[in-house]
């Protein structure tokens, strides 16, 4: 799936994560997390796995994490992907299921 334009989802409130997706070459993840030391790798894995599920191979991911749980990270990233790929009205049920 192709990133069509820059899109944002999430807030900077505690326990939330804010994603900004933009066009790029290859997958580049720039993570700024309050819990980098304990959960940085886990958060990157959640992001990488989900991008793979959506078959997104070229994207710049900027994530500012305020201690979000995995379920929140997934929800925010899915929202950002749908916005960046203009698929808000055609959710990918296979991935969501």
């Amino acid at each position: 799936m192709e990133i069509k334009h820059t899109a944002l989802a999430g807030t900077l409130e505690s326990s939330d994560i804010q994603f900004t997706l933009s066009k790029g070459t290859g997958v580049e993840i720039n993570l700024d997390s309050q819990v980098e030391k304990q959960f940085g790798n886990q958060i990157r894995k959640v992001i990488t796995d989900l991008l793979k599920d959506y078959d997104i191979t070229d994207v710049n991911v900027r994530a500012v994490d305020k201690g979000a749980l995995d379920c929140t990270i997934k929800a925010r990233l899915i929202a950002a992907i749908q916005r960046a790929t203009d698929t808000q009205n055609q959710p990918n049920w296979e991935v969501l299921g």
Binding site: S14, S15, Q34, V35, K37, Q38, F39, G40, N41, Q42, K66, G67, A68, L69, D70
Partner: protein, 513 residues
């Protein structure tokens, strides 16, 4: 070697610094000898000094000496920065800094003094923010020694801390050194921690912005103890000394925890007429006093005393007649500080009276119920209030180890904070040993220390208070947040955590980045 809470204590520290490893929370009845301090005899004239540089000269401060301050002005302190800047300016080297604690407003100056070589050793109750970060990244060669308030009193009495010069800010004083903290612009109520310095330092300097006519009473610090009095423009910012009116939390999670804490208290054998309690200043702890008030009215139970750091809600209970006396070592808000001037039943106590394990009996030993907080608590009930989830120093022992001596010690804490579990398999740093802790209260339920069979029996069928094992609570927390990767540290100690008897309970190492 491994100590009794299974912490590896480096042998060279035990040897070089003559430490014993922590073994037990039982103090027993050892004999000890208090040290004496030097007295430069004065007839009381000419104590008034015009400036800080002049008084530093008069005290005979030398390289390598120990200086002390108190932290009663909290985030509104002007005195520490004024004095420390002058000491740096004059080029002193290799001093030991031994304040009752360090607040954020002192951080930049401490770092400056370390970089200038002025401060080479620190002992404190704790540290936070920039300074905690600086020390945790190896900013000071010699490890910081962290002591509880009761332990600091003990260490001063037996000479582990030998204060050469104490610089004590006070809201008022007369020209010969009688001072209190209940009148003036920058009142802070009880002078509890600083009273030890006034009693045991070789040289005692008071700094004040308000000179009173002689004799200035009530005198908490007395003219017999004071060498010099310095008039400065302002000792502190009244708005930052304590929060204004303490507001009760509206956070539903904290309220639920508070309600459950109250259930635990009122269903224990200690909730009877004449009981005593200490609550902290955290959101949930403050809310407990509101629930407790209601239960006391319903059951017609009155408390004999409230202890510790005092807040306005506790003073309200005193004025309502639900608490007979307050034993007050420090005040957390303006209401509590101001009421000290009017309530004769709000007794100022020094930190030895409050919590010292090595005197003839401290107030904490009489305490029935105590509510404490935790950054982390582990499945052995050990509590960490010192290092954050990144392993960096960001707290203070305060009276935690001391007040945990109560007959019923309750830790109130949320199961998780954001993505960080509060209930963990092993705390990063052991500050208060699990042997002192009786009940953990979280928003999902409570866990009781297995050795308290009486409490397990008393609390097994309390409506709205589900009982779990602490392992169950730990697993529940982990199911929510996931399994964290272990923190990485270097092998270089940056702080030594003493137990209240002066033994070594844990070591904090430099963080790896």
């Amino acid at each position: 070697m491994l100590n009794k809470v299974n912490r590896e204590i480096p042998d060279d520290i035990l040897k070089d610094k003559n430490y014993k490893p922590f073994t037990t929370t039982e103090i027993g009845d050892p004999e000890t000898t208090y040290v004496a301090h030097q007295v430069k005899v004065s007839q009381g004239d000419n104590k008034l000094v015009d400036s800080i540089p002049e008084v530093i000269g008069k005290t005979g401060l030398k390289n390598g000496m120990t200086i002390s301050f108190h932290h009663h002005f909290r985030e509104g302190d002007f005195v520490f920065n004024m004095v420390m800047q002058e000491i740096i300016n004059e080029g002193f080297q290799d001093l030991t800094l031994a304040p009752s604690s360090l607040t954020n407003v002192m951080n930049d100056m401490v770092i400056k003094a370390i970089k200038a070589g002025t401060i080479s050793h620190i002992t404190s109750s704790g540290m936070r923010g920039e300074l905690g970060d600086f020390i945790s990244h190896g900013g000071l060669k010699d490890p910081v020694v962290l002591r509880s308030h009761g332990n600091r009193a003990r260490a001063i009495e037996n000479g582990d801390i030998k204060i050469d010069v104490a610089f004590l800010g006070v809201p008022n004083a007369d020209a010969v050194g009688n001072a209190n903290a209940i009148h003036g612009d920058a009142v802070f109520g009880s002078m509890g921690y600083s009273l030890m310095d006034a009693k045991y330092a070789d040289k005692v300097v008071l700094l004040t912005d308000t000179i009173m006519p002689y004799p200035n009473t009530p005198a908490s610090i007395k003219q017999t103890q004071v060498d010099y009095v310095v008039k400065v423009d302002k000792v502190g910012d009244p708005d930052k000394i304590g929060s204004g009116a303490t507001r009760f939390t509206k956070d539903p999670k904290e309220l639920k925890i508070a309600e459950m804490v109250n259930q635990v208290i009122t269903h224990s054998q200690y909730f009877k007429d004449g009981f005593s309690f200490q609550t902290g200043s955290g959101g949930a702890a403050l809310a407990v006093s509101r629930y407790l008030r209601k239960s006391m009215l319903e059951k017609n139970i009155k408390a004999s005393f409230a202890l510790g750091g005092i807040t306005k809600p506790t003073v309200d209970l005193l004025e309502e007649g639900l608490v007979s006396k307050i034993l007050d070592v420090q005040d957390f808000d303006k209401g509590a500080a101001a009421s000290m001037a009017n309530n004769e039943n709000q007794q100022e106590i020094d930190s030895s009276w409050y919590a010292d394990p090595y005197n003839k009996g401290a107030a904490v030993n009489q305490l029935d119920v105590c509510i404490l907080s935790a950054l982390e608590i582990d499945t052995k009930f050990n509590v960490n209030v010192m290092t954050g989830s990144d392993g960096v120093l960001r707290g203070a022992i305060g009276g935690h180890q001391d007040a945990a001596n109560a007959k019923l010690t309750i830790i109130s804490a949320p199961l998780v904070r954001g993505r960080i579990a509060t209930v963990v398999p092993d705390v990063t740093t052991v500050v208060t040993p699990g042997d002192s802790i009786d009940v953990l209260v979280t928003e999902v339920g409570i866990a009781i220390n297995p050795k308290r069979k009486d409490l397990i029996e008393a609390l097994k069928n309390v409506p709205g208070v589900p009982v779990y094992t602490i392992e169950e609570l730990q697993k529940r927390a982990e199911a929510v947040v996931g399994t964290p990767e272990p923190l990485e540290f270097t092998d270089r100690p940056v702080a030594l955590i003493e137990y209240r008897d002066g033994s070594l309970i844990d070591t904090v190492y430099q963080v790896k980045d």
